[in-house]
């Protein structure tokens, strides 16, 4: 796979002295979900500002699609059209008085025709479910809403890659899941997603690749499983192993059962730990697309109350509009897998463009946990 962004021997220091980045070489693969993992002050945000062309390296270079960045106005503008940055603190990013003015800021700076700007603002606000707040002054929004507006502002330039600086920081548990699901959805629709985080649990569950940073240096760049196998690196970066990883390791050490494939989610963990326990057989995972004109809302009532969920921003919004009585509005695929692997049937309401992702996740789960779940697409 080709890299979309790469840094080679990057050095950068602030006026306060000391290197914020010291010989940073990292590679972001196109189309993947990458987590820049590291404790506070490890240089994650500074690296993002380099990747977006805001900071110019004092030594080393940044490559975009294999080409070194140039820092003339036109080149930088072209880079920022393709690489969007969402700041950790939404208040740093939002400066327009109203929501739609702020989301339109990037596209307007690209001198796009007003109809195109209008379309992009609509789409971005729709994606983050902030359409009804479009005329609101930004200072009247809650922190979570400001975070969504910041994401919409980054999405409105329709970038190839989205750099998200601590996107889950300061959010409640539900918003964290919604934000992660949204990034998964965007990634499925073709965007490369890079998040910075110090949360090992999120990195382990969410990321394909990880860049581990500590004190301005890259300690590791590779797959998630590889990283968490190297405990000394984690200690060096003042991080710990994820709970699921440690539990699985203990299972391996205590029972002698193979460590791989490692469970990355709760349903995978349940399946790994309780595979020898008797269940009444696997259930069926029903998938319905709300945007399919043949969708019958009556089908929802045929499933148990706690066995219905929605996945995808459009499906969640549409199911609320249709007043569908669903139980899970986040983590619904995981809930569905847990239920179906215990022999119950589950209905997941989603949209046509995400059916492939849902099926892939179910198949991945079946392969990983050696479990047979019947997947049925409802028309």
């Amino acid at each position: 796979m080709s890299s979309i962004l790469e840094t080679k021997g990057l050095f950068y220091s602030y006026e306060t002295g000391g290197y914020a980045l010291a010989n940073v070489s990292a590679r972001i693969e196109a189309g993947k979900k990458t987590a820049i993992l590291g404790p506070n002050g490890s240089g994650k945000s500074t690296l993002f500002l380099h990747m977006n062309g805001v900071y110019r390296p004092q030594k080393g270079e940044v490559l975009f699609h294999g080409e070194p960045l140039r820092y003339d106005k036109a080149s930088v503008a072209s880079l920022r059209r393709k690489i969007s940055l969402m700041f950790q603190n939404p208040d740093d990013q939002i400066f327009a008085p109203t929501v739609e003015e702020d989301v339109a800021f990037g596209p307007m700076n690209l001198k796009l025709p007003i109809e195109e700007v209008e379309k992009r603002v609509d789409e971005a606000l729709y994606t983050v479910d902030m359409q009804k707040y479009r005329d609101r002054p930004t200072q009247q929004l809650s922190y979570g809403q400001r975070k969504r507006v910041a994401l919409a502002g980054a999405l409105a330039t329709d970038p190839e890659a989205l750099l998200m600086d601590e996107p889950t920081a300061g959010l409640d548990a539900q918003m964290v899941r919604e934000m992660l699901e949204l990034t998964e959805e965007l990634n499925h629709k073709g965007k490369t997603i890079v998040i910075s985080t110090h949360d090992v649990e999120i990195a382990y569950e969410w990321a394909d690749d990880v860049v581990l940073m500590s004190e301005g240096s890259v300690l590791f760049n590779g797959s998630v499983d590889e990283l968490f196998g190297q405990e000394e690196l984690l200690h060096k970066a003042r991080l710990t192993r994820p709970i699921l990883y440690s539990l699985n390791l203990q299972r391996h050490l205590r029972t002698g059962e193979p460590e791989c494939p490692r469970p990355h989610t709760l349903p995978e963990c349940c399946q790994t730990f309780f595979q020898n326990h008797k269940t009444i057989g696997s259930g069926t995972f029903y998938i319905a697309s709300l945007d399919d004109p043949r969708f019958d809302p009556g089908v929802v009532g045929k499933f148990k109350k706690h066995n219905r969920g929605a996945y995808g921003s459009t499906a969640k919004r549409a199911s609320r509009d249709l007043k569908l009585d669903l139980h899970h509005y986040f983590n619904s695929i995981e809930h569905g897998l847990t239920k179906t692997s215990r022999g119950e049937d589950y209905l997941l309401v989603t949209e046509s463009s995400l059916q492939g992702l849902v099926k892939f996740k179910v198949e991945e789960f079946m392969e990983q946990s050696n479990c047979e779940i019947k997947v049925v697409s409802l028309l």
Binding site: R80, F87, F95, N109, L110, T138, Q139, Q140, T157
Partner: protein, 256 residues
């Protein structure tokens, strides 16, 4: 802080938000001139009626509590001021009282002037409140840019408007943090804490400005702030309506 936020919220929720800001401004100025140029009470009375109606419409019939406090405050000042006017005008006394050997007289001209001033003030207050409760600051400045106000003034004002809320939020957090640690216990301590807070707020503002500069760059800022949704511009209808109102009030206030 709450009043500033409150007025801002009112303006954004006002049914008169979509009216052209310059139209509203022109109407308000005409009403104020009409009221002030009127020699009789009729002009200010008409403006008060129009102002009350516009204000009632702008706040959607529900004036928030802070607005009522504001109005009460103005009324108290107004009543005090008009009482002083009533007893300080020369002429034949229509009513007198001795207090501690001092004669205080109210003259007919004093009463007339006091009533005129009272209604002018009340009319002016409601007209201005209508404008404030229906026009957010960015709308005013974006509209003024069409009249030739330089872009850099408009952009700076809009940015100051946006960031003032954040600086206020930050200052409240800092004041609360200082209060929790007894920073305001005693006069001397309060002075010292206030000084430290002011200095820190300034430093934080600088840091904030630096981060915002990064954000601007990352979002392709090219030196000017584009306006996506321009407020409606002043049309002939508004101009005719405002000038007609001024003419009518002037005529009624001076020749009736």
């Amino acid at each position: 802080m709450s009043i500033m936020k409150g007025i801002d919220s009112l303006a954004y929720q006002s049914p008169a938000l979509k009216w052209p800001p310059l139209g509203k401004l022109l109407l308000c100025v005409c009403l104020l001139i009409g009221s002030l140029s009127s020699r009789t009470i009729y002009g200010p009375l008409i403006v008060l009626g129009v102002g009350l109606f516009l204000f009632y419409y702008a706040v959607n019939g529900k004036a928030p509590l802070f607005m009522l406090y504001l109005i009460t405050g103005v009324v108290i000042f107004n009543v005090t001021g008009t009482l002083i006017i009533a007893i300080t005008q020369p002429g034949e006394a229509v009513w007198s009282i001795f207090i501690e050997g001092v004669k205080i007289s109210v003259t007919q001209s004093g009463i007339d002037l006091a009533i005129l001033v009272f209604f002018r003030t009340m009319a002016g207050m409601f007209v201005v409140l209508f404008f404030a409760a229906s026009t957010p600051v960015p709308h005013i400045f974006n509209a003024l840019s069409r009249l030739g106000l330089p872009d850099y003034i408009v952009e700076t004002t809009v940015l100051i408007y946006r960031y003032s809320f954040m600086v206020l939020e930050q200052s409240i957090l800092m004041v609360n943090a200082a209060s929790c640690r007894l920073g305001f216990s005693g006069w001397k301590n309060s002075m010292k804490t206030t000084g430290v807070l002011a200095a820190n707020l300034f430093i934080r503002s600088l840091e904030f400005a630096e981060r915002s500069q990064n954000a601007l760059q990352s979002r392709n800022y090219t030196g000017s702030f584009p306006v996506f949704r321009k407020p409606p511009s002043l049309d002939v209808k508004w101009a005719v309506c405002s000038i007609s109102a001024l003419a009518a009030i002037y005529a009624i206030g001076n020749f009736l």
